[in-house]
Amino acid sequence: MNTPRYRNIDRAGAIIALAILAVLPLVFTGRYLVGVLTVAAIYGIWAVSWDFMSGLTGRENFGHSLFIGVGAYTAGFMNTAWGFGPWWSLPAAMLVAVIFALIMGFPTLRLRGPYFALAMLSGAVIMQRLMLIFWEYTGGEEGIQGIDPLLASPLYFYWLVLAVLAATTLLLVSLARSDWGLILKAIRGDEATCLAAGINITFYKIASLAISAAFAGLGGALYAHYQLQVSPQLFAVVTSITIITMVYVGGMGSVYGAVGGALLLSLMTELLRDFGEWRLMIYSLVLIAILFFLPNGLVAPIWQRLRTRLARDPGPPAASAPQEAKRAIDNAVAGKGEAV
C-alpha cells in the first residue's frame, strides 16, 4: 500500500503545503497573520508529537501539556534566571521533557489499563500547581517574563517554527513508516501477541513517549520565545485536550494528519472571532459534526482518497483501510477481550 508512487505524491503534497504556508505571510502581509500561523505551526509540532506516541500505540496521553510546560519553563529559566542565550533553550527543553517522559513512563507504561492516561493527566495538573506553590522561583501566576526572542523579525521566527514543524513531521512520519512504527501499531493491536513475537514492548512504549516528549518540549520552548513569557496556564489540561482534538480531526495514527488538524482548527478559531460570543458554540458544533460524521478524521482520509485518485492505481482501496482497522480494533476490544 506504500508504493513508491504514493510516496512521491506524499512528498509533492508536503512540499506544496509547506510552500503555501511559507509564502502566505508574504501575500497577506501584517503581523496578525504571522502570529496566527506561528501559533498554528507550534500546535502542529505538539499535535504531531502526540500522534506519534498515542495515535500509533493507542495509549492516550491526556497530559501532553506537561511536556510543553516543562519545555517552556526550561526555556524561561535558562534564558532569564541563568542567563543562557536563547538558542540553548531548544536542546535543553527537549532534554528536560525527555527526563519527565522517563519519570512518567517507567512506572505507568508497563501496566495495562488507564494508568498511563491518568498519570499524565495528574502529572500536568500537579506541575501547574507546583508552579503556583513555588511562586518565589517560578513567578507564580505571573510566570516568567522578559524572555528573549530567538529572532528579531516575527516573519523569520515564523519560518523557523515552520522549518522545525517540517523537520519534526518528516522525522516522525519516517519513523512511523519504519519497523519502529510497525511495532507501535502492533502494540496498539495486541500487547500479548507482541510479547509472543519477541518484542520488548516496554522499551518501545517508553522510548516513543520520550521522542514524543522531546518534540512537545521543543514546541514549548519555541512558544516561550514567541510569547516572551511563560505562565502556569501552559500546563492546563485544556491545552492537552485541544491537541487531542486536533489529532482526531487530522486522523489518528497517520502522524502527518495531525499537522493538518492543528492548522485547520487553529485557523478556524481565528476565522470564528467575528462571531463573538457565538464562537465557542460554532466551533464545538463543527467539531462534533466532524467527529460524528468522520470518525476517522478529516485530513488523513481525504488525503488518502486524493492520493489514490492521483496515483490512478485502483488496487486495494487505501482510504478505507484505516476505517476497517478501527472497526476491527473496536470489535477486538468488545469481543475478544479475553485474558492471556
Binding site: M1, D179, L182, I183, K185, A186, R188, G189, D190, A192, T193, C194, L195, A196, A197, G198, I199, N200, I201, P316, A321, P322, E324, A325, K326, A328, I329, A332, K336, E338, V340
Partner: protein, 244 residues
C-alpha cells in the same frame, strides 16, 4: 538430548492450585502432546513456560538456561515461540506485516525481512495473501498466520495451543500436514495442546496427561488411551459412565 526440563513447577491463583508440582522433560526433536480436560492447567503451563505469568516455585531449564523470572520477549529471544488459543492477528496490518513483526526480535539477523516473511507465508500455505488485511483472513488462514508469525521468531521449541479449535475437517487435515512438516523438515521441537483427539494422537510421539494441574500419566499415545487414570479424567468412572 533434553531441550526443555521442568522441575516441580507450581502455580496458585488465589485458592486455586492451577499447576501442581509439574515435572516434564522434552527432548530435542520430539513432538509432545499435552492432554487434559478443560481447566486442567494446560494453557497455564504454557503461560508459565513463556513467562507470561510468573511461577510460584520450581525450575524451568531450556537449553540449559533457567527461564524463571525471564521476561516473555526474552524467552522468545531464547528460542521458544507460542501461538494462542484464539487467533490474535494484528488488526489493521497486512498478512506480511504481521509476520514481519515476528522477525523484529533479536534472534533474527538483519536482512531482507520481507523476503523471509514471504518464504514463511509460503511454508504455511498463505502465498499470494501477503497484502490482505490480516483480519479478513478466514479462521483457518488466521491460524496459519499465527504459526507463520511464531516461526518468524526462529524458534527451537514451538508451543501450539489448540491449533485445530474452530477449524473444519479439511482445514484440520491441512494444518496437521503443516505441523508434521515443521517437525520433519525444520527439525522443530513441538509441544501441542489439542482436544481433537484423532488428529492429536497421530501427530504426537509422546503424551503428558494433566488433570487438576497435576501430571497424571506420560507415555505413548497407545499407553495413554489405555491408562485408567486418563480414562477416568476424560469420561469419568465406569459406573457413572454408563449411567450418563
Amino acid at each position: 538430548m533434553t531441550l526443555l526440563s521442568v522441575k516441580d513447577l507450581d502455580k496458585h491463583f488465589g485458592g486455586l492450585h492451577a499447576v501442581k508440582h509439574v515435572s516434564i522433560e522434552v527432548a530435542r526433536g520430539e513432538v509432545v502432546g499435552i492432554l487434559g480436560p478443560n481447566g486442567a492447567g494446560k494453557t497455564t503451563l504454557y503461560n508459565l513456560l513463556t513467562g507470561f505469568i510468573p511461577a510460584d516455585s520450581g525450575e524451568i531449564l531450556f537449553n540449559g538456561h533457567a527461564l524463571r523470572g525471564v521476561r516473555p520477549h526474552r524467552i522468545v529471544g531464547m528460542g521458544i515461540a507460542r501461538t494462542f488459543q484464539l487467533c490474535r492477528p494484528f488488526v489493521g496490518m497486512s498478512v506480511l506485516e504481521n509476520v514481519r513483526v515476528g522477525s523484529l526480535g533479536p534472534r533474527v539477523p538483519a536482512g531482507d525481512l520481507d523476503a523471509r516473511a514471504r518464504g514463511l507465508l509460503g511454508d504455511v500455505g498463505l502465498a499470494g495473501k501477503e497484502d490482505v488485511p490480516s483480519e479478513r483472513l478466514s479462521y483457518g488462514d488466521q491460524r496459519r498466520l499465527e504459526i507463520a508469525r511464531a516461526l518468524a521468531t526462529e524458534p527451537e521449541l514451538l508451543l501450539l495451543d489448540e491449533p485445530f479449535a474452530g477449524l473444519g475437517s479439511g482445514e484440520i487435515d491441512e494444518l496437521s500436514v503443516l505441523i508434521r512438516r515443521l517437525h520433519q523438515d525444520k527439525g522443530l521441537t513441538i509441544l501441542l495442546i489439542e482436544h481433537k483427539l484423532r488428529e492429536f494422537m497421530k501427530l504426537v510421539s509422546r503424551i503428558i496427561a494433566i488433570d487438576f494441574g497435576e501430571v497424571i500419566a506420560t507415555g505413548t499415545p497407545a499407553e495413554i488411551v489405555a491408562n485408567p487414570r486418563v480414562i477416568e479424567a476424560y469420561i469419568g468412572r465406569q459406573e457413572v459412565g454408563h449411567a450418563a
